[in-house]
Amino acid sequence: MANEVKHVNKLTMLSKGWNAVFMVILFIVALLVLIPMLLVIIVSFSSEMSIADNGYSFFPSEWTLDGYKYLFKTGDQLLDSYIVTIFHSLTGTLMSLTVMTMFAYVIAQKSFRHCKLFTWILFFTMLFSGGLVPSYILNVRYLHINNTIWIFLLPSLVNAYYTIILRTFIRTTIPDTLFEAARIDGAGHFRIYASIVLPLFKTGIATVGLFSMVSRWNDWFTGMLYIQNPKLVPLQTLLTKIQNTIDFLKQNAAIAGTPDGVTFLRQLPDENMRMACTMMVVLPILFAYPFFQRYFVQGLTVGSIKG
């Protein structure tokens, strides 16, 4: 494919002028994307003094590592949140992949008599859903999985969209003849699934696994809605909590203006620590993503194929 692209470029090369214009436009867009993120990085290294004087600035008057130092010193909550997030991202993804690939294998069998029915049972949930409130009542009132680790694992176990992508992957990468040959040789479905399908469609699994892992890592809503136990608050929820608490307390303390309030505010996490915390949440994904970019692009393309 790389060769083809080069070939096209040579044949139908853009004129130098337009090429330059495009490069400048694209560069400006890249700046628009990067500058807001850059601000967070810079503030996380700015000293409290400089923030108090000039606000959040791209050019702080003083640089410091205090935000990170403070974060790691008082970081018990951060550590707990890291553990919860890593655990539920990994475990949840593994559980999901196991269940979803099995179902995808089943609905990829065109000869299976319930193939259509099962696909529809799955597909219908993409079109219609009970919505937030019935699920909330179900989880809290009947299943009692709020405030437990299960709330991160069970309700998000199967994603209809990913399962259909997996099915499309199986259908497009593994030829029907291969299945038939295996059947003739006497292999049962379990055998075919475990020793033919899984090894042959590692890319598909990696793609969906990565998408699933990222959305779990980035999930702040589940934590906000269902978790009160501080030991179970995931990273992203911790971030929103810190943000909201600081703003709330600052507004209130300003109204009250009591000496107690003032001392309390002094002990609050500083602005640069808040940004340092944001960095700690974002970095793992931003570092990992360029290495996995190939899989994401692949997933995007397959996801748009009608199966």
Binding site: P36, G55, Y56, I107, H189, Q243
Partner: protein, 315 residues
Amino acid sequence: MVRTGTNVKPKKKKSKFRKEDLPLYVMASPTLVYLLIFSYAPMCGLIMAFQNFNIQKGIFRSPLVGFKNFEFLFTTSDAWIITRNTVCYNVVFIIVNLIISVSLALMLSNLRSGLYAKTMQTIYMMPYFLSYAVVAIIVNAFLHRDHGVVNSILRSLGQPGKTNWYHQIKIWPPLLVFVNAWKHVGYQTVLYLAVISSISVDYYEAAVLDGATKWQQARYITIPHLRYIIGISLILSMSSIFRGDFGLFYTVTMNSGMIYPVTDVIDTYIYRALTYLNNVGMSTAAGFYQSIVGFFLVLIVNSIVNKIDPDSAMF
């Protein structure tokens, strides 16, 4: 769990059941059980929209009240405001993101340097991997009343710079469109770029031999090839036109009450009715309204697409 799959289903058409299919039922059963509990049971839970729900009594013993919850919802102006906001924002998001991402993909695919294109692509996709919790903090870094970049700049220009941007209705509609584009355009650009790079070189060679300019190639080869994928993603986004992006409208706006008239969407309304007002009945009614209208929208859009271009239809 497994037995329901193997015993109940075959009874209807016993003759067609094949023993070697048994493993298929076993493999499908975890997902089927999951769907039953976490997808289909909540659908039945929509009955709460017609109940005066009481958490102690639960869903089976709460009294029915008919359409009371809906009356409550639709007699205020809330229903109209949240519907208008949800639909209008989504339509604008779809159009704006489509135009920007197709233009970016066209430009990237024509660059002379592949490395440059690749680097840009990687940068554009970064915001897609940030959660709205993080995006909200980034936006706050600009809009914060005391430390925010915007107010700092205003102050350096001699303005007072004391505006609380979370109280200013005017700035939010364009700002939300920008934040949404910032987060999602990269993803779509990469998608369109992947499709463009899969177009066969032959078309372009033939076009060049016939003396087609670069613009004509884009107009008559690349864009027609993108039509199918654009169609699919339009349908997919049309089907969720009744769903507001909770992260965007709740966290990025810091749930600021002053700007609800332009930021409140169905999803944030449901969330607040549930958690702040504890009004289960009404929030379910709003959810019911959202699910039903959304569902029929999908059916309508799909049948229209089926008439025009059956290949692009979802089902």
